[in-house]
């Protein structure tokens, strides 16, 4: 099966403002030659690139109306589920779970249903959901309406973190435009849960929607659907729903025309770190990691890439030739996750950056489970000692033991993410770790972090 040779790429160095012109996103592009729109396969961001408009009229002009069911069309949900299955779409929120299967699990639940659009994007290194909501909110809402009709849902809830005001404003505008039209058969509500790292986790989000603290739940059996009140909830990432909107219009074959057999379609990737043009790119699954990274123009020689997010894994430069799919990248020790890639160049210290990530993640614990509450700060402490060259002889062994100890012992996957991130760092930066362990801090440990969202100093304590 061919991998698409032309990728749908749309860089977004977007400045989304709540300005008086209601439908435009002002766009400052470093290089106007980007944003090639291939005719095939259909692209998430192409419409916005072409017109720079986010209003309903422009959306309908480009894509046509969403193929929502007619009145009394009882077989439509089944057909939609079939189309979804055929496309092979998997979730773009991080778990890469087959979307058709997820829909089926909640459809079989009794009683009322609600569709939750998860645009929380708690990962600091990810911006794709913000971009989707700011630039193509109607595509996301199309997908939400389609999924809600397939589910028989009585309501749609769009969740945008309380510190992502621009994205929230954009989607609220879009919701208002659609209200009362035929394109919004299921009513939509936009809510703003607190923007914590773990708040976008499915069960945490549902916990907040139920009036709780927004902390993840312990779910030994994930097949039981989540519930908001008495209503079974289907939670989907915003990008997944945007893809659904395209699949429903253009058919599963068009989706499969991009990407590879085991990972069809396009995906949004957020590139940051040691690059000249950080931003959100739409790439074809299966493109090599190196080709994707190069699009953002690394500032120097690439040494490693943090894949999947702060809870993902580091891959060395040798992995740059690997196709960007869950299976292939996974086999090389990487993680596709929510499409996050943080590039590390030679003038940065991998151990120091890992220490900063670990400290951030320790601070983002929900505080529910002992191994996470105690284990993550201890791991961060040890990594900081390693990075600053004040390691004791037993540090690396202790670190490895602690990392193994926290893995899998929380209610959610937060400690698991830290564990695999640190393990991969110790492997990829083994030479640096050994040098640091001999109490030799490197030249770049004190440099400002290349990681997005981390300034290199301790978070102020809460409580």
């Amino acid at each position: 099966m061919p991998t698409a040779t032309t990728d749908a790429t749309a860089t977004t160095d977007a400045t989304a403002t709540t300005d008086s012109a209601p439908t435009t996103c002002t766009y400052g592009s470093a290089d106007g030659s980007r944003g090639v729109v291939p005719p095939h396969p259909p692209s998430l961001l192409a419409a916005w690139h072409a017109s720079r408009r986010t209003d309903l009229a422009a959306h309908l002009t480009h894509h046509g109306p969403p193929p929502l069911p007619g009145r009394g069309d009882a077989s439509w949900p089944q057909r939609f589920a079939g189309v979804l299955e055929a496309s092979g779409l998997t979730g773009r929120g991080g778990a890469s779970f087959p979307s058709a299967t997820k829909l089926g699990l909640v459809r079989s639940a009794r009683g009322r249903r609600t569709l939750v659009v998860n645009a929380m994007e708690g990962e600091p290194a990810s911006a794709k959901d913000k971009v989707l909501l700011s630039c193509v909110p109607h595509l996301v809402l199309d997908g939400a309406e389609l999924a809600a009709c397939a589910l028989g849902a009585t309501g749609i809830v769009v969740c945008v973190a309380d510190d992502h005001d621009d994205a929230a404003a954009a989607v609220k505008r879009a919701v208002a435009e659609r209200r009362g039209t035929v394109h919004a058969p299921v009513p939509v509500e936009v809510l703003r849960p607190p923007g914590r790292y773990v708040a976008g986790e499915e069960s945490a989000l549902v916990s907040w929607l139920n009036g709780g603290p927004g902390a993840p739940a312990w779910r030994p059996d994930k097949r039981n659907p989540l519930a908001i009140g008495r209503s079974a909830a289907l939670v989907h990432n915003a990008e997944t729903l945007a893809h659904m909107a395209l699949v429903a219009r253009y058919g599963p074959a068009s989706f499969r025309a991009a990407g590879s057999v085991d990972a069809p379609g396009t995906s949004l990737v957020t590139l940051s770190g040691g690059v000249e043009h950080p931003g959100v790119f739409e790439v074809s699954m299966g493109t090599t990691l190196g080709a994707i990274v190069n699009r953002a123009r690394p500032t120097g020689e690439v040494v490693a890439v943090l894949t999947g997010g702060f809870g993902g894994t580091w891959v060395p430069a040798g992995a740059l030739g690997i196709p960007y799919t869950p299976r292939s990248l996974g086999a090389a020790g990487g993680v596709v996750g929510a499409g996050v890639l943080v590039v590390l160049t030679r003038d940065a210290c991998g151990i120091a950056e890992t220490a900063r990530v670990a400290r951030y993640m320790a601070g983002e614990s929900a505080g529910q489970c002992g191994p996470c509450v105690f284990g993550l700060p201890a791991v961060a402490d040890d990594l900081e000692r390693l990075a600053t060259g004040s390691a004791d002889p037993s540090l690396v062994a202790r670190l490895q033991m602690r990392v193994a100890s926290v893995d899998g012992r929380g209610a959610c996957r937060h400690p698991d993410g830290v564990a695999r991130m640190v393990r991969s760092a110790l492997s990829v930066f083994a030479a640096d770790a050994a040098a640091h362990a001999e109490r030799r801090p490197c030249a770049f440990g004190g440099a400002p972090s290349v990681l997005p969202g981390i300034v290199g100093k301790r978070k102020a304590s809460r409580a």
Binding site: C369, F374, R409
Partner: protein, 71 residues
């Protein structure tokens, strides 16, 4: 059909009674939280496992009748 033990990590408050009653299956990490072996419970320990589940002040230690891993 066999029994497996599992710990609800949110409810657990590191009392440690499970490790006292069932040291063969439960050890405590450096902060006092249980590390359980998720495999099937040997038949001669099932009774003790049930007692540990009953004694846990937070009902965090659970015995499940299942062959599947609880997580």
């Amino acid at each position: 059909m066999s029994a497996v033990v599992t710990v609800n990590p949110i409810a657990c408050e590191a009392y440690g009674y499970c490790a006292e009653l069932l040291p063969e299956l439960v050890t405590l990490d450096e902060w006092g939280y249980p590390v359980v072996d998720g495999g099937p419970v040997p038949p001669h320990l099932v009774e003790l496992a049930r007692r540990a589940a009953k004694e846990c002040p937070r009902r965090a230690f659970l015995v499940k009748r299942s062959v599947e891993r609880a997580r």
